[in-house]
């Protein structure tokens, strides 16, 4: 029943995400959006360093930004399903009535976003390697570390998305995607586009407490080990230790997600929010 809920939700999520009447527009969207996001940083970097793409800071920024797209994509995928189903399709109440596990259903809905997000990440990285000298050499990539890290990161993001989904049950629909907004906020503390050392000393602990920091570090080390070594922020921590830290944080994220979602779910039911519409 659980796997069926997840699979059906994934199928539904894909049907919704791929419901474009114009495939050309979909293709444009899938390529232009991620590249434009990366281009902002590339231009910023290029202006200040006069286009010195060989400095290790460039691949640090570029790869961090590329993989950070997963944060917005997965978190939005899980949490936006609440708003979409509640306000737009008005089916959330039926999902609640059905004998399915809502958290699994919501995570299933995020699968499509994960897939489209993966495409965006891939496009961005390939572009970086081909045109911007991002030094990824396929034969030197630590593929095992890469895939393990990637999977752990996606699980982490799904759990964070679930926490946000729980909170979303109690919120009105405001403007844009909440997942993107949260991802934008966490951008500051994740070491995605600058080493944590750049942050003021009093803010750095927040960065160290952020699991995404370790996740991105692992991905960079697996793809371009030399770049990661150029920055001392986490250099004293080995790969195994990073994996252990990330694993522990995933467990913590799971506990937080379950507790938060249960609490918010109960509150939403008590207040009658499951089938309300709040569009204004």
């Amino acid at each position: 029943m659980n796997m069926r809920s997840f699979r059906t939700a994934a199928w539904l999520g894909w049907k919704i995400e791929s419901n474009w009447t114009d495939p050309f527009l979909f293709a444009v969207y899938s390529v232009v959006k991620p590249l434009a996001g990366a281009a902002i940083l590339v231009v910023m970097y290029s202006i200040i360093t006069n286009g010195n793409f060989t400095d290790p800071l460039f691949p640090y920024i570029y790869l961090g930004n590329a993989f950070y797209m997963y944060v917005g994509a997965v978190m939005t995928g899980v949490s936006w399903a609440v708003i979409d189903d509640r306000e737009h399709y008005r089916t959330l109440k039926y999902m609640y009535v059905a004998p399915i596990r809502i958290p699994l259903y919501l995570m299933g809905r995020a699968v499509a976003r994960f897939l489209t997000g993966s495409f965006s990440v891939l496009i961005t990285i390939v572009f970086g390697v081909l045109f911007l000298h991002v030094p990824i050499v396929l034969s030197e990539v630590n593929w095992l570390l890469f895939f393990v890290s990637l999977i752990m990161g996606v699980v982490l993001l799904a759990l964070m998305g679930l926490t946000l989904a729980g909170v979303t049950l109690l919120l009105a629909r405001h403007g844009d995607y909440l997942g993107d907004a949260v991802a934008g906020g966490l951008y500051l503390f994740s070491g995605a586009v600058f080493p944590l050392d750049v942050l003021p000393a009093w803010l750095r602990p927040l960065g160290y407490a952020m699991p995404i920091t370790y996740w991105l570090e692992l991905l960079r080390r697996s793809l371009v080990g030399s770049v990661a070594q150029a920055f001392p922020t986490l250099s004293s921590i080995s790969n195994d230790q990073l994996l252990l830290i990330l694993g522990g944080m995933i467990v913590l994220a799971a506990v937080i997600a379950v507790v938060t979602f249960r609490y918010c779910d109960k509150q939403a039911r008590e207040r009658g929010y499951i089938d309300r519409t709040t569009n204004y």
């Binding site: 910023m44 009105a172 405001h174 403007g175 995607y177 934008g184 906020g185 951008y187 500051l188």
Partner: protein
């Protein structure tokens, strides 16, 4: 019961429409305040990240100021995209759009009402970023001509909202693509309009093409007017940019009027106003 009552028409009806549609936005925001966190606090953090990118690159301090001002202006672009243009998509889905079209209210008034109502959060977001960002990052300003600055801001907003209404007219015809297109229009506009860097960094023709977006020249002129070294990093002179913004305002508002009428007519012909192709 009475039957004959006075109903306003013309500009009075237009003003009533704007205020009527702004009302749910303002009241909705006051009744559910989570937007303060998601639409003001979090974006401030996001803008700060770009400041630290420049810090990591050891960029000159004026670039920090550029990010703060640019980050504040993203609020207005987001207001256009999500409170106005793609909001029509939600209105269509919920059935309100048909009721608006059927009424004697002008669709421009409805759109302006949405945007005006959204201004509550937009203005707070922009001000919050400017104030807190300036304090936190010790941004130094040197405002030369305040009235010129105000004029630039006003013209940029007029042209921007005109452009937004043009975009909204397209959303009358679209279904779910409307949402995707709004989503698509975020980063490319941030890039082209130079929200986080001076547009002069681009090749002249690229910058010129990007100037069709009112925020590009608006932001460039504002930076020239508020930062000591702004003029050095400006694309065109402030006077030239003001002239172009005047032209853009006129063109976009006129085009918005025409396009809204045309798109409405087309949507009525094709039966798109009340469809729900999700």
């Amino acid at each position: 019961m009475e039957t004959a009552i006075r109903k306003n028409i013309g500009w009075r009806l237009f003003v009533q429409t704007i205020l009527g549609r702004a009302y749910p936005r303002v009241v909705g925001m006051s009744r559910e305040k989570s937007w303060l966190f998601f639409e003001i606090f979090l974006p401030m953090l996001s803008v700060s990240a770009y400041v630290f990118v420049y810090r990591a690159l050891k960029a000159p301090e004026e670039y920090i100021g550029f990010v703060v001002v640019g980050g504040a202006m993203t609020a207005f672009w987001m207001n256009i995209l999500w409170s106005m243009s793609s909001q029509l998509y939600w209105e269509k889905e919920t059935g309100n759009l048909a009721l608006y079209i059927m009424s004697p209210a002008n669709l421009m008034g409805i759109l302006l009402g949405m945007a005006l109502g959204g201004m509550v959060s937009t203005a707070q977001r922009a001000l919050g970023i400017i104030l807190l960002g300036s304090l936190a990052f010790k941004v130094q300003y040197a405002v030369g001509d305040f009235w010129q600055l105000l004029l630039v801001f006003f013209l940029a907003m007029t042209a921007l909202y005109g452009m937004g209404m043009m975009a909204a007219s397209l959303f009358l015809l679209l279904s779910r693509e409307a949402w995707h297109i709004a989503n698509l229009a975020q980063e490319p506009i941030y890039l082209a309009a130079g929200f986080y860097f001076p547009i002069k960094s681009f090749n002249f023709w690229v910058a010129a093409a990007a100037s069709i977006i009112p925020l590009t020249l608006g932001l460039d002129a504002m930076r020239q007017l508020v930062f000591p070294s702004g003029a050095l990093l400006g694309f065109l002179t402030v006077r030239t940019e003001i002239s172009i913004l005047v032209g853009l305002s006129v063109v976009f508002i006129a085009a918005a009027r025409i396009m809204l009428a045309k798109m409405e007519s087309l949507a009525i012909r094709e039966g798109r106003l009340t469809e729900s192709r999700r």
